[in-house]
Amino acid sequence: MSGSANKNLKATVNKRTRKRMLVIFVIFILLGVVPVFINLFYVQIVKHDFYLGKATTQQMRNATITPARGTIYDRNMKKLAVSATVETVYINPSSVESDEQAELIADGLSDILGVDRETVLEKTKKKNYYEIIKRKVEKEEADRVREFKVEHKLKAIELVEDTKRYYPYGNFASSVIGFVGTDNYGLQGVEAYYDEELQGLPGKITSAKNASGTAMPLEYEQYIDPENGKNLVLTIDEVVQHYVEKHLENAVIEHNVQQRGAAIVMNVKTGEILALANKPDYDLNDPFALTDEFELSIESLEGDEYNAAVSEYLNQIWRNKVVSDTYEPGSVFKTVTAAIGLEEKKVSLDSTFYCPGYYMVGKTRVGCWKHAGHGSETFLKGLENSCNPVFMQVGLSIGTDLFYKYFDAFGLREKTGIDLPGEAEGIPHTYENLSNPISLATSSFGQTFKVTPIQMLTAVAAVTNGGYLVQPHVAKEFVDDNGVVIQSVDTTPKRQVISAETSATVANMMEQVVSSGTGGNAYLQGYRIGGKTATSEKTDQRDENGQVTKYSVSFVGIAPADDPMYAILVMLDEPNTSVTSGGQLVAPVVRNIFNDILPYLGVVPQYTPEELANLEISVPNVIGSDVKTAKTELSNAGFTYRIEGEGQTVVDQVPKTGERLSKGSSIILYTAESATSSLIVPDVIGCTPAEAKERLEAAGFNIKEIGTLGETDCFAVKQSLAHGTAAAAGTVVEVTFLKDTHGAE
């Protein structure tokens, strides 16, 4: 065979071999790949839904998004209650690997979080997956827990997001704001009343996470926005509330009040509550805290007894006395009786009465607070004097039908509907009871029935605001996070009870009570203040001899009296003092509150010529001036002076610059570096203002009067420097005067 034939043969053989190899190769590929493709087809197409479901279950996370609780603001948009994110620390006991690890966890967490070590250790031994160690942990503590966890590789410790409510001002407006529980539901105050609006609606997020918890994009991802809680704007004014709380707290401490004090400031035209306070109260950031004093008192108690005592204490301290406690209003109610009598023309301002110190209702003798009697007086004078016989006669002339009808009309037989939880109804007389002349007579001066302080103030507001019964409320409006108003509160009055004319007359009568009646201690220079005092017996609490020994004292004030805008009611329940009189104990509190809030609220003072003449002015600084210049400056300011020493330059002065004194006060000018002359302070307690001024000036001192203005029927009850104290000549001695309003009224 030739070479080319061999070549052909070889080529043919190679080709055949390659073909066979290719075929075998393809068969092997097919044997390997086809089953894979069949399986893939089966998994991805045939069993698509099944495996998608499994993957979704494994990867998808459904999480509830907690909505942010609404913020609470005062009327000037100051934040009073805010929510912020915190964390809850918990452990997974099933992940605790050993006893040593449990000890380490207990040591670490008790040190960082301040919790009891043994409690933590006990929790590590439980047979579950979730044991809370501490809720609402702040960021710093949470970060330390995280560091501790990472450092010691402790899988058992976990942190989860939580929210906490903060009250930046502590116990400020605690009765109004209230607080939330551990689960962020409102328990007291507006936090409870408006809980639904403040809560909002939770959202939901459905997302996929990989094994390490990182978010993955997912076609089924769904995000439903949470609806954050509405933000609540209160009618409370931070500044007014501050002054009310300050003066109420001082009064409760000074007069050793046993059953707490309460105060309300209301805009009589709209029913807006500008301030509402009860003292003592509690810190909203720690509502379960006990005072040291109380803890000491229950030291010896244990178990159920201890728990019961603590529970009672907390319920008392949380209780909003203004809306939940009833009391006999006493003589403040005479303003209502006066309004009814004038409206129904049963009496006029000039109607005359006689008070011998009592009034006979049938065969029953009902006394006046002034046992000696007021003698002959007009109806106006009767209110000024707070005379019980006058009002008993007016009440009896009004009669049961009308009295009952007006009692209803003034809202005293129903709740006011104020937007705070726990409002109580009063305990009024039934029609049958009121048909008894004794009940009618005593009701006319505010005894033998009970109302809440908010009911009483709302009634007084109706008496003085033109006759309209307003709706008291603490919520002004709801706003969203951008400040847009979502919802406002309606301030339409409920009804008109008396005419505008009668209302103006009674307001004027109340002004007379302050300027020349038992309310003199509420007098304030430059402002027309009206008011009514009350000293009410707690007739349902008598001693073993049947005598009433407990009282509540109160005062209601209105300003400005010619067109009332604001009304204040302050009540002290069971003051423990030798003197029990609303005029002496409470009227000065209302005066102090008005003194602070009226300028802030824009009520312009209008001084009478007499007031202007006695207006206090600051002592100018004349130290370093020559004597002649100093004399001129002091004379121009309205002061007198006395020169000590022979020098030509003033080296010292008493009183110092900035001290406020009335015109005519004496300033001592020292012209030599000699020691200031030291004098002994005289006793002026019990003196009238004129007597006290004479005594102090004769002794070389200056007087600063606090209280009534030069009245003759008031007396000094307090002096800033005690009798016998040595002080420099010219020193100012502050003397507090009170009108004599002693007795039940």
Partner: protein, 158 residues
């Protein structure tokens, strides 16, 4: 081997067979070359197709990686934002509790020796006239100014 028959020198048939063989060989060569060419073309196409397929697949995978990374970054940034917002709230609360009116009053009176405003330091001013607003307009020159003048004359506001 072909047998010589007759005058073999002029037997063109011998030459014809050789020519046919040569032609057939040439045809086979051409076919072979064509086949090789086609094979090359096919290989290149397959390679290109595979490359494109791999490129698409890689791009898809890369896209998913990017998406996952970006999602993770968004998640981190959101978490950071929430932390900072929370910190801001905490600081706001701390600040508010420090400027509580009670604290301010205590500091003012006892630390700085300040006293409240004197009543006679306040002067109240009665404003009897109504509020007035004076609106100044800049003068415009040229044609626009001329138009303004005409409008003014006709008392039409502009």
């Amino acid at each position: 081997m072909a047998q010589r028959q007759g005058s073999a020198a002029y037997d063109f048939k011998t030459f014809e067979a050789k020519t046919n063989q040569k032609a057939r060989a040439e045809i086979v060569n051409i076919a072979e070359r064509q086949r090789k060419k086609n094979l090359k073309k096919t290989s290149v196409s397959i390679l290109l197709a595979c490359t494109v397929f791999i490129a698409i697949f890689a791009a898809n995978v890369f896209g998913y990686i990017q998406l996952t990374e970006t999602t993770s970054e968004i998640s981190k940034a959101t978490s950071q934002l929430e932390t900072l917002q929370n910190e801001y709230k905490s600081l706001e609360i701390s600040y508010a509790s420090m400027v509580d009116l009670r604290n301010v009053e205590q500091l003012a009176i006892y630390n700085f020796g300040m006293s409240k405003l004197d009543k006679n330091q306040v002067e109240y001013i009665a404003l009897n006239e109504k509020d007035k607003v004076e609106h100044l307009e800049s003068e415009r020159g040229g044609i626009l100014g001329f138009v303004d003048d005409i409008l003014d004359l006709l008392n039409i506001s502009h």
